[in-house]
Every structure is written in C-alpha cells, then in structure tokens.
C-alpha cells in the first residue's frame, strides 16, 4: 500500500485579525449599532474571526460613499487610469495568492488544491481581463460612448467567495461604476483581505465598499434607493425576492441563480475521460457549484460500464483536511447546508433511489458529507429536480439522443450542461437543443474570464465574463 503522508499547507502565511470592521470609504469602520457575527472554519468549527454586521445605516453610509466616489473620482476618471488600478489589483492578487488561497480554504472549507490551482488563478485572470477593457469600452459593441450606471450593489455567495467577488467587482470597476459588495455571512474573510488589497493598491476611497452581514444586510443593500444596479449570485429563492423588490425601480438587475445541470454521456464517449468529467462535474468544490453536473444522463447500453468506472474512481477521492495538498473533497461550508444535503439525500433514499458512497472516514469535528451517487433515479424524484448543492449525483439513463435532450431540458433551471461523445456532429446536434446558458463538450466546469457565463429560465439572466459581462454595468 502507498499511503500519502499528511502534506498540509502552512497556515502561517495568513495573518488574521481577531475582528474586522466594515470597509467603507477606504477605511475599516465599526458598525453603527455594533452588531457582529463569527466566521468559522467549517472543517473544524473553530472561530476564525469576528466580523461586523452592517445595519441599514451602515449600508446607507456605504452607498453614499460609493456615490461620492462615482461622481467625483471614478466616473470622471479616464478608462486608461481605471485600468492602471485594476492591473495593480490583479498583480497584488497574484503576489498574495498563497495567502488568499489558504484563507479561502480556511473560511470556505474547499481543498487547497482547488483554491490554489483554480480559484486564485481565475480571480487574478478576471481582473487582468477586465483591466484591459477599461479604456476600450467604445469598442465593446455597445455603441460609441457607453456610460457606467453609477453605484452597483453586489451580493455574492459562499461557494467561490473571492472568485464571485472578482466576477462582480472587475467588470463593474472597468466600466466606471463604484460598488458596495456584500459577501456571504459564512465566508466574508477573503473579501475583507481584498479590501486591504484595495488599500495597498491606493484605490481611491469609496470605489469599493464591503459590507458584511447576512440576509438583512443584503436586503438593505439591494433595496437602497441610491443604488443603480443590482447584481446577485445565489439561490433562486432569494433571486426571486430581489427581482420583486427591484421591479418598477430604475435599477438594472442581473441574476445568476441555481442549476440542475445534465451531464450527458453517449455510448461512444471516451469513457475514462467522461468519468473524470462526471467526478469533476459533481464533486469539484464539494458540489457547491451552481453549474454542477448534478444529473448524470448516461446511455443505457454503457450505463453499467460507466457506473463501474465511476465507483472505482470515487473510491480514490480523498476527503478531509482542506489544507492538505492531497485532499480532493473538503468540508461542507456550513451546518445549514449540510442539513439541506442530508435532507435531500434522505428523500432520495425514501423515494426509492439506490444510494452508494465509497468507504471513507469522515473527520469528527466540522461539516462533512461523503461523495454520494444515487442510481435508479427518475425525473419524478426530488433529487432529480431540486438543487442539492452538495456532493450528491443523481444517475438517470436514456435510450435515444432525443430522450436525453428531453430529460436534460425537463427542469425549471437552465444554467449549464455537459455532452460526452466522440462524434462532433452529435455535440452540435445536442448543444443546439439544450436549454442551458453554458454547454460543455467533452469537459466540464471549465471557466475563463473571456467566456460569458450565465443561465436562462430560473437560473437567472445577464452574463458575467467576456465582452458580454460589461453589458450589465453599462447604460445600454
């Protein structure tokens, strides 16, 4: 046997303060009513830091700071000068990427190999990419002189804390807007470190404001009348509430919501790579991915073979300490999310699907869930319809390509989908018929700042990334 010795990444690169204030107008300030909450490490339940909770007054302060910065500094600033700040931020992120990656894994529970090799490189790439657009907006295809909107209220989720921040802040700033961003209450720490990076980059005060808190803070922010733009990534339920509150106002809205993506494996697929794609599709980031390939649709004549390979591969997944460089699956982000995953998985068993997990020992402290697949799932099962947002895969089979497309589209969501086949014409035929914003062929969960990302139906509207990502932040 070849046992890998523990290979932990050092925590000492991160210098955490015991408590953090709100980042408003270029400085950290205490909240008006003095409220606070704790951010914990989901892998150990240890408290990492105490974080200020912003009330309505604090949100108002932040929006007014953003407004002033927009009117006096950032809005009038030539694009080439805004670009300089964005390039500077991107470079500092690269320089401090190890520190940011460790902190992300500590606060979120994701394995260090993912925060190090996926999240952080993409975060820096996003800032670099949009820095390049800042002085070329008139060539982006939105008319001769596209103007920024003003103050953007941005609310982001806990699954990719810093990456979602980059997706929101980089295009907003490149287009000339200022922002007030609320990170998720379970993962506020990298956003606060990012605030320090804004200071380090000498970003003018008020251009980026970070208000921490939970749902009430987010509601105060998106409902604030001084906001011109609302951008939200998160659950469809909250997205709906935001759409209601924004309806009838002048605010421009983009939503990136849930998904229940189909990953379709045809009988001529490259099986070993398809299995890798299935694993990456559902177990990447503990399945806390809105575009996760949570429904595997496999052609029935290869189903046994694919499932056997998949189970063998799943037995190799290493679940445990997120800071260990060999960990493949880290901790579930919160007790509440773990409860939801458990509840839906139990429903899967109760409704008659067959549950399987590889033998794996889970740590005693912290929030953990073994990688799980359900076979014998039908379209009528809850686990085939509701977003689980965890390492749980529902396996369905199909006989004909038409049936695969029908099943794939039979969901209120429409964010992403995957196609696995050796036949190019079948990729095109299938992609044409899939109602999903992103379709991956012979790969899954590939991201690039140049490529627009977003869904339709109940997965939201608007695109992030690429030239398209500018549109949500311009008056077009």
């Amino acid at each position: 046997m070849f046992e890998y010795a523990p290979a932990p990444e050092s925590r000492s690169v991160v210098d955490l303060k015991p408590s953090y204030g709100l980042f408003i107008d270029g400085t950290f300030v205490d909240p008006t009513d003095g409220g606070s909450f704790k951010s914990i490490n989901p892998a150990s339940e240890e408290v990492l830091a105490e974080v200020a909770e912003a009330g309505a007054q604090d949100v108002d302060r932040a929006v007014r700071a953003a407004r002033e910065a927009y009117e006096k500094v950032w809005g009038p600033m030539p694009g080439r000068d805004r670009a300089k700040y964005l390039f500077r931020i991107a470079r500092i992120i690269q320089e401090r990427s190890r520190e940011l990656a460790v902190l992300e894994s500590l606060d979120n529970g994701k394995p260090i190999k993912e925060s190090r090799d996926v999240d952080l490189p993409l975060v820096a790439a996003h800032f670099f990419y949009y820095a390049g657009w800042a002085d070329k907006l008139e060539h982006a295809g939105f008319g001769a002189n596209p103007r920024p909107l003003g103050v953007a209220a941005q609310v982001i989720p806990w699954n990719f804390p810093l990456l979602m921040l980059a997706w929101k802040i980089a295009p907003a700033l490149a287009a000339g807007n200022t922002v007030v961003l609320k990170p998720a209450e379970t993962t506020p720490l990298t956003a606060l470190l990012f605030a320090e990076i804004c200071q380090q980059a000498d970003l003018p005060a008020g251009v980026v404001n970070i208000v921490t808190g939970a749902g009430d803070t987010g509601r105060a922010l998106v409902e604030h009348p001084g906001v011109d733009k609302v951008a939200f990534t998160g659950s469809t339920e909250v997205g709906r509430a935001i759409a209601r509150s924004v309806a009838g106002t002048r605010k421009k809205l983009t939503l990136e919501l849930g998904g229940k993506a189909a990953n379709i494996v045809f009988d001529d697929a490259p099986v070993d790579q398809a299995v890798e794609g299935i694993v990456n599709g559902i177990f990447f980031n503990q399945g806390h991915v809105c575009c996760a390939g949570s429904r595997l649709l496999v052609q029935e004549n290869v189903a046994d073979r694919v499932l056997e390979s998949l189970k063998r591969r799943m037995a190799q997944l290493r679940v445990g300490d997120p800071l260990d460089k060999n960990t493949d699956i880290g901790a579930i982000n919160s007790a509440a999310q773990l409860e939801r995953i458990r509840e839906l998985s139990d429903a899967g068993s109760a409704e008659g699907a067959e549950r399987w997990s590889p033998p794996c020992e889970l740590p005693e402290r912290g929030f953990w869930f073994a990688p799980t697949i359900f076979t014998g799932v039908t379209q009528a099962h809850r686990i085939a319809r509701e977003e689980i947002f965890g390492p749980v895969l529902s396996v369905l089979t199909f006989r004909t390509p038409a049936e695969a497309v029908e099943k794939a589209n039979n969901t209120p969501y429409g964010l992403s989908a995957g196609i696995w086949t050796d036949k190019g014409s079948r990729i095109l035929w299938t992609a044409d018929r899939l109602r999903a914003g992103v379709v991956w062929a012979n790969t899954f969960n590939k991201f690039d700042p140049t490529s627009p990302f977003g869904g339709y139906k109940e997965s939201g509207y608007g695109r992030e990334g690429g030239r398209h990502g500018l549109e949500g932040y311009l008056n077009v």
Partner: protein, 319 residues
C-alpha cells in the same frame, strides 16, 4: 474486481485468428480524449508526497528500476560494473534495496549473467532488432533466442510500428506471438514506441494488441526516438492493463522507459499507478522504470531523507 466484471470475463484468444476480428475489436475500444487524458495526468502530478510516503516511494522506485545501458560503446567491463551497481546501488548503505533488473543488448548478456546469477535481480535484454525492428522476422526470433540462451530472463521486444500504423494488426500480432514463443520461460515486454504512434487512441489499441498476443509487460519506448515515456501515455496504458485484467483475468505489467530522470518524476508515476490501477501494480513484478540516470537521483534523495543533507554526485557511482 466486482462480481459483474468477473462473470463477464471473456476468452479473447480467438481474436488473433483474423485481421477483421482484430480490427473490429481494437477499433471498438472506447476512444481517448486527448485534452482530458492530459489534464488527468497533470492533476495526478500535483500530489504532494512527503516524509514517510516519500521514503517509501523512493525505495519502491529503486526496486522498480530496469537499470539500462543500450549504447554501441557498451563493453563487458561497463556492463559488469552496471550489474554490480544493480545489486548494491548504494554501497555505503546496506538497507538500500537492489534494482528490478539490468537491461542490456544481447551481446552483453553473458557478462551481466555472471554477476547477477542467483541474486534475484532480473536480466533483461532488448531483442528483435532493437530499436527499429527493421529486420526479417527470422532474424528477430534468432536474436530473441540468443538472448534467452545467454541468460536473459526478460526480453524487451519492439513492435512493427510500420505494420501497426498501416493497419496490418495481424502481422504485428503474429510477430508478438512468435517472439513470445521464442522467449520460452523468459518474460516478454512489448515496446510500443508510443512516440511513433502519434495518438492516444493508437496507444490504447497497441496496448490491447500486445496483451492479446500474450505480452507479459507493455513498455512505452525504446529511448531511441525523440519522444519517450510521458505521464499521459502511461496513464492510457495503465487504463488498458486495468481493463484487460477486468476482461480476461490476466494481469499485465507496465514499463515507462526513457526520459524519467529524477525522483520527482518517478513519484508522479507511482502516484498514477496507485490511483489508476491500485496497489496490485505497485510491485516490481508489475511496474518498472526503464532508466539509467534516474537511479542516482533516487539514491541522492534517499540519502537526503536519511541524513538530512544532500551529498554531491561524486558520492554515487557512475553507471
């Protein structure tokens, strides 16, 4: 193996009887997606193997080395020295294991055999007009027999790449079968020369062809063409031996050869073996490194782990 795989075990020995049957079978194997295979290989390369795991991996890698010299300039004295090194890679440390085998040209086999006799270190010889394989079959078989008679217990043959790429699978198959029979009791390693096969689909087909024809090992390269062993090629070959055992019950070994120069690379291969085919292959009987300079780097890293300091190359014997 799961019960379904066992019950599905099939007799594939009839496939070699006709060109059509071979072609149908080999072209019916699932394809390999190049991007995906390379990505998986790169992912496995990021495993962090430290402390006790590293020590264990280094000793295992030493036991898996086919210590090789295949030069026109080889002399009896040089191959004797190599054989002596194979027995005691680190003369200063008796706990250091011996290597898996010594690999030389047929003409050098008798000199190596004298040194290795009874030691447990295998004696491999390249045959079949290595490295090009461009000789009449009778000469290749005579080459093989001569090496075995001189004392080689492992034969590394090259496949007929021209015939393979032209789609004459039966010709390749028959040559492997004939060579296997010429080997007698000696183990047969079949060199695919993956650097000349161009695609991973071809690597997978050639792997299956070699296994169907009775090869005991499949080996990547001769080391004599620009592209030798790579991690993705080895991954595809490991998947092939895994699937072949599931289908037939027979286990076949894998030998990446050429271009594996340091401990870090060797450990990446061991991680790949571990996570692709599992512990059954983590043994010198089932996995080998065809290498020459690799051994000294393994020894240097081994010394570093036990003493805490690096020593210079002068402290290790030249090959």
């Amino acid at each position: 193996m799961t019960a379904t795989a066992t019950s599905a075990r099939s007799d594939l020995s009839e496939l070699g009887r006709s060109e059509t049957a071979l072609r149908t079978f080999l072209h019916g194997l699932p394809g390999v997606d190049q991007v995906g295979a390379e990505q998986r290989a790169a992912q496995l390369g990021t495993r962090s193997i430290k402390t006790t795991a590293k020590a264990q991996a280094i000793d295992l890698a030493i036991r898996m080395v086919d210590l090789t010299t295949l030069e026109g300039a080889d002399t009896p004295g040089k191959v004797r020295a190599l054989a002596a090194k194979a027995l005691r890679p680190d003369p200063a440390d008796p706990t250091c294991p011996h290597v898996g085998a010594v690999c030389v040209y047929p003409a050098m086999v008798p000199y190596v055999a004298e040194v290795l006799r009874g030691s447990g270190v295998h004696l491999a010889s390249v045959a079949t007009a290595f490295p090009s394989g461009q000789a009449p079959l009778e000469i290749k078989l005579a080459d093989t027999r001569a090496a075995v008679e001189a004392g080689a217990d492992e034969i590394d043959m090259v496949i007929n790449r021209g015939a393979f790429l032209a789609g004459r699978y039966k010709e390749v198959y028959d040559e492997i079968v004939a060579t296997k029979s010429a080997c007698g009791d000696a183990h047969l390693k079949v060199i695919l020369e993956t650097g000349e096969l161009a695609t991973y689909d071809n690597v997978r087909r050639a792997s299956w062809l070699a296994m169907l024809a009775g090869g005991d090992f499949i080996k990547t390269s001769t080391g004599k063409v620009p592209v030798a062993a790579t991690l993705p090629v080895t991954l595809v070959m490991l998947e092939a031996v895994r699937d072949f055992r599931a289908a037939t019950g027979r286990q076949v070994g894998v030998k990446p050869a050429g271009g594996i120069k340091n401990t870090k690379d060797a450990i990446k291969y061991l991680v790949m073996v571990n996570e692709t085919v599992g512990p059954d292959w983590l043994d010198p009987d089932w996995f080998r490194f065809g290498a020459s300079s690799l051994l000294n780097d393994l020894l240097m890293q081994r010394t570093k782990l036990t003493t805490g300091v690096y020593s210079g190359p002068d402290y290790f014997t030249l090959d």
